[in-house]
Symmetry: C2
Subunit: 118 residues, 2 copies
């Protein structure tokens, strides 16, 4: 996955970043207090946001609320690129424990997503 | 010109908006203390930022610093669409006085831009 910071400035209270992952690629599964505001710019795939797996396509908007497990996964066919706006002052992402993953996997749709079978 | 607020939330310190103007259309000439962070998503044209007129094209980034006169103008051929990130808490835009415009027009490139001859 590549990450480009498009805008970051002391006068701006947020940053705008562009992420791109290769076909079949995925972001890390994580959560944090700060929100993500995501706009899909190219490709398609699926994302896990909280208790739900959703298809995503170019021009879709995705909001990741505070402390919500999330992961983005590109389709097999093409790269997935998206913009992500975040507060400039923000906490560090938390990674899931084995217990967190086990809890998430109780939902069959989430288990399929984590196993790349969405 | 159309304006869509894509993201605005109490948890987010900035807003992300999408603006689109028809071929030949333009935004208002204004300035303000808050910055603009702009990403051109479709089309092309020119923008005035401070003392300079620049061509803009899809995927270009434009930063408008504080208290800087700025205006965006679409090419004659197609609509111009761009994302604009701004601080959620921000001041109101100021419009130019006749004196401000006269001062800007002393620069021939800016006069041509204002007369839609860029």
């Amino acid at each position: 996955m590549t990450r480009q910071v498009l805008f970051s400035d002391p006068e701006l209270h947020s940053e705008l970043r562009y992420f791109e992952m290769a076909a079949g690629g995925f972001s890390s599964l994580e959560r944090h207090q700060h929100m993500h505001a995501v706009l899909i710019l190219r490709g398609r795939g699926h994302c896990l946001v909280g208790g739900e797996v959703k298809p995503i396509d170019t021009r879709d908007l995705v909001t990741v609320p505070p402390m919500t497990w999330h992961q983005f996964r590109a389709s097999k066919g093409e790269p997935l690129g998206f913009l992500c706006m975040v507060n400039a002052e923000r906490d560090k992402p938390q990674l899931p424990t084995a217990e967190d993953v086990a809890r998430l996997r109780k939902n069959p749709a989430i288990a399929a997503f984590l196993d790349d079978k969405s």
